[in-house]
């Protein structure tokens, strides 16, 4: 479609079409550009039913059992940041993706792409941290791979993890399962990971250090399932944050979503950082937060379970699934007016003034 549109433009057209011939950083930002890459390039070619479900992982059958299967690559800079490091992130991120399919994470792979010159000590620290995170998440790292690239061809190290988990319930946890009237529960305050990373990366100093929320939420999800909460869909709020997660689910399910700004917890220091940088916290990345869509009848019970868990203390109900098939997310603002939550093109850019 883009090609067709471009042909119609005169040569002086200022539309940034030339950039679309190359991958831009924004294609990896979790926003509209990435979504269109998935829809227009990957899906038509790979075309499996599981990919089409647009979920955090795939649900597959093997030997009569339902398994969840997922993979994710980690390219975070710096490798170590307040609240975590690339290793902890890689284990928790993959375990969380499995948990979002309603699976109990079991096995994880670890693949390393190392840049020539990386201190062995750095690698050793990352590996220890991965094992620590795996023990805490109750998963085993069972296979792996190591490659080394020339100096300058990698950012210290990149880590890929894939994971397998087992599904022990009969629910279909995916965007298509959400129903009008479903309550949307958020497991905790948002925006910590993204602002923590940005603060270290850019040398921004705040009164208190903002720590990443990097953690494995599989235990908490397990408790919800064990208690019989009828979960319709879950999504962890990584790249693109709460905003992109809601838009993706609304668009996939073709349902409307209504949320209330006042009910979304954001820590003081994160709000301060976002105000300063001109960022909207609802699009900032998290690594230990998720949303769950549950029937209204189960929402009080689910909230109690979340709040009793160390990772869900500030959990709240932020909104509900609306009637209608518009696939749009509407936010009621603090001053009582409403606006649409859309997916940004790529990552948010700090404003000029």
């Amino acid at each position: 479609m883009m090609e067709e549109e471009r042909k119609g433009f005169p040569s002086a057209c200022p539309a940034p079409s030339a950039g679309r011939e190359h991958i831009l950083l924004a294609h990896g930002g979790g926003g509209r550009l990435m979504s269109s890459l998935v829809e227009k390039l990957f899906l038509p070619v790979f075309g499996s039913r599981q990919l089409g479900a647009r979920h955090d992982g795939a649900v597959v059958e093997a030997g009569g059992r339902l398994l969840a299967f997922t993979t994710d690559s980690y390219v975070v800079r710096p490798l170590f940041f307040p609240g975590g490091d690339i290793g902890k992130l890689a284990v928790n991120g993959t375990a969380n993706d499995l948990a979002m399919c309603g699976a109990k994470p079991l096995y994880i792979s670890a693949a390393f792409i190392l840049e020539e010159g990386l201190p062995i000590e750095t690698l050793s620290k990352v590996v220890s941290s991965m094992q620590e995170a795996a023990s805490a998440a109750g998963v085993s790292i069972v296979t792996g791979d190591t490659k080394v690239v020339d100096k300058g061809k990698g950012d210290g190290m990149f880590v890929n993890t894939a994971g397998i988990g087992v599904i022990e319930h009969a629910l279909s946890i995916e965007p298509a399962s959400i129903q009008p009237g479903d309550a949307i529960l958020l497991s905790g305050d948002i925006g910590r990971h993204g602002t923590a990373i940005m603060a270290v990366r850019e040398g921004l100093q705040f009164e208190s250090t903002i720590e990443s929320d990097c953690a494995c939420v599989a235990g908490l999800v397990g408790e919800l399932l064990e208690a019989g909460v009828e979960i319709h869909c879950m999504r962890d709020l990584t790249r693109g944050g709460l905003g992109c997660a809601l838009v993706e689910i609304a668009e996939t399910a073709k349902r409307g979503i209504k949320i209330e700004e006042a009910s979304i917890p954001v820590a003081e220091e994160v709000r301060g950082a976002c105000e300063m940088l001109g960022l909207d916290a609802i699009y900032v990345a998290n690594e230990g937060r998720f949303i769950a869509f549950v029937p209204e009848k189960d929402s009080a019970k689910a909230l109690d379970i979340m709040r009793a868990h160390p990772l869900g203390r500030s959990a709240s109900k932020i909104g509900k699934v609306a009637e209608g098939s518009a696939g749009l997310v509407t936010l009621k603002s603090a001053v009582g007016t409403s606006r649409i939550i859309d997916m940004p093109s790529g990552e948010q850019l700090p404003r000029i003034c």
């Binding site: 079409s17 007016t337 000029i352």
Partner: protein
């Protein structure tokens, strides 16, 4: 959060909106000058709280939107060169030039970096003595002092590999130009609070007198904007045309003297082209003779080429408040934030992007929902 929540209180907002409704007896058109205010108005839905006969016109105060196409092309040309580290504020990277944007230059291997302060670019210059480091100095009076400080620091330290691509614009001449246009519908202004924090507001007094328009220096939070509108409407209803200061917690009549002195030392006032609006005399800042060695255009010997805007883009009319974004035939059709025809659709402060993000989608939703209702 302290100093934020107080200005976003829903109850107080509704009370102020009620006061505005109470004192408004007829149709008034008020322009908020600054893109930051436009962003707040649309983000918080402030216009939804106002009576129908208050018409808000979105002004030209978005630095991303008014930077001329030619300057973007120059930035792209410099950034594409070997041996250059090109530093810019983040939101300039997505602005379309004639054939590409700075993000594309980066994708093709150009060293384009997002910085948060021009002083970061000075630091990069110090750390990379073998490279030419260029900072894209855009913005209004708000960003000018920091950019002046960067040049001043570079000259104090004798840095030879640092320069600025300058495209600074000044707000009062643009307000004059808008008021002098025969098409102008503006009856009152909300002046840009942060610009006035630097410059003060004495320079707006002759404009208010000459054109008989009230000008209210206004902040950026919902209650600031509502109070600014209230003060402006009150003046209009009472037939007054004065400069008043709503944003007194940040703005003094004389402004920030230190910042002004630094600006005067490093910059001089120049003719300036505003994207979509045209040339406005004495409406920009360029490097003063004494600091011309830091002028990237001179250093890289760039010739001025004129560039044509997309013929279908009406951003000029939008920036002057003559048209609303949705009055453009291409709005939301060929022109979207992913495929912008003009700069006002790019920046988060651009009127078109703000309308698209928060409004257009909603209209689509309502249309779809009413269709659902009919089907049901």
């Amino acid at each position: 959060m302290k100093f934020i929540d107080e200005y976003r209180d829903g109850e107080a907002a509704r009370r102020l909106a009620g006061e505005i409704r109470r004192i408004t007896s007829r149709q008034w058109s008020i322009m908020e000058v600054c893109g930051g205010q436009t962003h707040s108005i649309v983000k918080f839905g402030i216009d939804q709280l106002l009576p129908h006969h208050i018409n808000l016109i979105h002004g030209p105060g978005c630095p991303v939107c008014v930077t001329p196409l030619e300057t973007i092309d120059k930035a792209i040309e410099i950034a594409s060169r070997q041996n250059v580290i090109f530093c810019s504020f983040g939101d300039m990277l997505r602005v379309p030039g004639t054939s590409q944007d700075l993000f594309s230059v980066k994708a093709k291997g150009g060293d384009v970096r997002i910085v948060y302060s021009p002083l970061d670019a000075v630091k990069i210059a110090k750390e990379n003595p073998g490279k030419e480091v260029v900072f894209f100095a855009v913005g209004f009076e708000t960003t000018a002092p920091a950019n002046a400080a960067a040049v001043f620091q570079a000259s104090q330290e004798g840095l030879k590999n640092f320069s600025l691509l300058v495209s600074h614009a000044l707000v009062p001449p643009a307000m004059e130009a808008i008021l002098s246009s025969p098409n102008s519908r503006v009856q009152g202004f909300l002046a840009a609070g942060h610009v006035c924090a630097v410059m003060g507001y004495a320079e707006y007094e002759p404009i208010a007198q000459k054109h008989k328009v009230p000008i209210v220096v206004t902040g950026f939070e919902p209650l600031d904007i509502l109070e600014g509108i209230y003060m402006c409407v009150k003046q209009l209803e009472e037939g007054r045309a004065e400069v008043e200061n709503q944003y007194a917690r940040a703005v003094r009549r004389g402004g920030n003297r230190h910042a002004q002195e630094l600006m005067r030392r490093v910059f001089c006032i120049v003719h300036r082209k505003w994207r979509g609006v045209g040339s406005i005399p004495a409406s920009g800042l360029g490097l003063a003779e004494e600091y011309s060695a830091y002028d990237a255009e001179k250093r890289f010997g760039l010739a001025s080429k004129s560039a044509e805007e997309h013929p279908e883009c009406i951003s000029g009319l939008v920036l002057q408040g003559i048209r609303k974004p949705f009055e453009c035939p291409q709005f939301g059709k060929r022109c979207t934030p992913e495929t912008p025809l003009g700069a006002t659709m790019v920046s988060s402060e651009g009127a078109c992007a703000a309308y698209f993000r928060y409004r257009f989608m909603k209209q689509k939703a309502e249309a779809a929902e009413s269709l659902d209702g009919k089907r049901g």
